[in-house]
Symmetry: C2
Subunit: 228 residues, 2 copies
């Protein structure tokens, strides 16, 4: 990850503070939804091992949710108010990517979480140290998704036909994530300014960010044995 030439921001700057509250609010609602969705998908698992592993992932997301809420409260923000602007886009993402079976659910958990994590880590470099540490902690790979990689690769080895379907599924996940992000982008100016490193509506920066996210997505799909 390139180091930023921007100085670390200061929470006493009202526009920066607003953007940080937006960022943490979006992340918090994303984690709450992820918790609920993973728990809801867990019963599709073929055995208790995978079912428990999915539940573990869900519980970890809820832990992140609580960390983000606590930080919002520290900043004097109401976490519920901070999450609200992102409900529609995040619910929209999930409504348009409801998994039809266990394999789709696992690919979604791994790939969807990966896209979000790449994005937040990218933004983290423009943050004040305390907020950056929190974002990086929430995005840390705690190794719990390794079971997904193993399981998906195993299923493809057993039945190579599923690879085509899951490759399409991965593309749909990426497409919906981009679509919903754009929906948020037009509404949250301060946040977008932060995401782009305070460079304003710099088309080159946007293009670069999407190129980075796409590259990481492709690598992640490949680790599952899938074409991006």
């Amino acid at each position: 990850m390139p180091t930023s030439s921007e100085p670390a921001r200061d929470l006493s700057d009202p526009q920066y503070r607003e953007a940080v509250i937006d960022l943490l609010g979006a992340m918090a609602y994303g984690e709450l939804e992820a918790f609920e969705r993973l728990a809801r998908d867990a019963p599709m698992a073929p055995d208790f091992y995978n079912r428990s592993a999915m539940a573990e992932m869900a519980v970890a997301e809820f832990g992140h949710y609580k960390m983000l809420r606590a930080r919002l409260e520290e900043l004097g923000a109401d976490p519920d108010v901070a999450m609200t602007p992102f409900v529609e886009a995040i619910d929209g993402f999930h409504a348009s990517t409801t998994p039809n079976d266990w394999l789709e659910s696992m690919v979604k958990a791994y790939v969807g979480d990966g896209i979000a994590t790449d994005f937040y880590r990218d933004v983290a470099k423009y943050l004040d140290p305390q907020t950056r540490d929190l974002v990086n902690a929430v995005c840390a790979d705690f190794g719990q998704s390794k079971f997904v990689v193993d399981a998906v690769r195993y299923c493809i080895a057993e039945d190579p036909k599923v690879a085509g379907r899951l490759a399409l599924w991965g593309r749909r996940l990426m497409g919906e994530a981009v679509a919903q992000s754009q929906r948020v982008a037009v509404q949250r100016e301060a946040l977008i300014d932060l995401v782009l490193g305070g460079l304003g509506p710099d088309l080159a920066a946007v293009t670069r960010m999407f190129a980075d996210l796409t590259e990481a997505h492709t690598a992640r799909m490949k680790s599952l044995g899938l074409e991006a």
Copy 2:
């Protein structure tokens, strides 16, 4: 709760050990299902406060699930095998009591969990000390369901008509719990022997147990402001 005249059992007795593994297996699968169901119902909440509280309850259930699995492993049992005989009955209970809205979901969380807890606490008195401590720890009221009592009472005060519907719902929960327990009872002899305190098929003991469970259920419904 009456104290038992039975001596504490010994895990070196194969029939007792089998019954304990059954009991812990049933409880573990119940907790896993409860986790998934609560997390799935959480998005029906009218606000983030209630949604988070439901998620907290779910996470607590998952903690119990892990404690029960750990104990099964200590006993040299395979937790997955121990849970399997109870999947059909517990899934059947949930399939026949899918909440239609947030209020039904809350009443189910409180009343359903209460019925199970009463039952397990009742059985606990026939257990060896270590198993008994675990069962009591899993059944301990960690105060997280208080939000249900407050919320249901508030909703009834706002709209007294819902009380009739929720009273029927409570009766259905109790009825389905009894029906599914009977389904298990005919299949798990060692467990039933344990549940009845080793008294064998003693009709008076069964009657007494159901009377106690019904009384506790009635008190619980009353605390919600509902007729049982």
